[in-house]
Amino acid sequence: MKDERIDSLDGLDPLVIADRSFSSRLIVGTGKYRSHAETVEAIRASGAEMVTVAVRRVDLDASNQESLLHHLDPNEFFLLPNTAGCFTAEDAVRYARLGRETGLSSWVKLEVIGDQETLLPDTEALLEATRILTAEGFTVLPYTNDDLITALRLEDAGAAAVMPLASPIGSGLGLLNPLNIRLLKSRLSVPVIVDAGVGTASDACLTMEQGVDGILMNTALAAAQRPVLMASAMRLAVKAGRSAYMAGRMPTREWAVPSSPSTGMLD
């Protein structure tokens, strides 16, 4: 990216996590859509390659239940199992192991929730589970808050990326503390993926403009009136925000500076 006249980052700016490279900096979830077909259409529109899934019991009493895997081809998308809904390190480790046993990969989006109402992470249990799973050879992507100290400890514990929230899961409140997110990004060596809280395209763009490596979102797409159209908007917003960051924005100032020459004016 030495060319100062470059007009697109397409193909030049992959997201690299652990030993894998992704062309899209947008990671999307698969929850809360109205149908499997809509899920897949939205993911395709988003351009995301990495897609999160949850691990849950098969319902033996539901006849002809269609599996998500019938619609999501693991050859087309990189499936990232999560440990959503786990409240202890032990449970999260158990779910992670089950997710790995599908044979798709040994990656996990690690969530250990500390409070039902806010769905904020239990950072102590998160660290413990990160250590255990890293030792077992997992590539661990922990969902955490925007606290620098926790993020540094997760990195030390072997996390392949750190995923701080923009705002609470499913809230759509957008990026509440850009300062903290920039601080995390400036201090961590592993990628920083903002996970949770993005509500609309401007949130995604603003988040990427902070210089983070990527964004993970689910509800912003699934709960939009037109999920596929919103997915497309998010694809563009993430690209725009990333490009703007890489372009290096102009400095702000309090008062006007003329864009046209102040000399050569008529008498």
Partner: protein
């Protein structure tokens, strides 16, 4: 024989391996992961491990999630 699957008591009529159990309940073994008495059963072992009376199974799959 009597087993527990996903928290509910079930009758496994045919008996035999875990693979046979999945067949009886019309579950595609390629789409699920099985825990038997809290231990994950590797996919290659599903037809080798015999189900015993009172076994407790968790049978899970990928679903939509964020």
């Amino acid at each position: 024989m009597q087993v527990e699957i996903n928290g509910k008591s079930r009758v496994f009529v045919a008996g035999g391996s875990i693979l046979a159990l999945l067949m009886e309940f019309e579950i595609d073994p390629r789409l699920v992961v099985v825990e038997r008495n809290r231990e994950i059963v590797r996919r290659d072992d599903l037809d080798r491990v015999e189900v015993e009376d009172g076994d407790r199974f968790e049978i899970v799959q990928f679903v939509g999630g964020g």
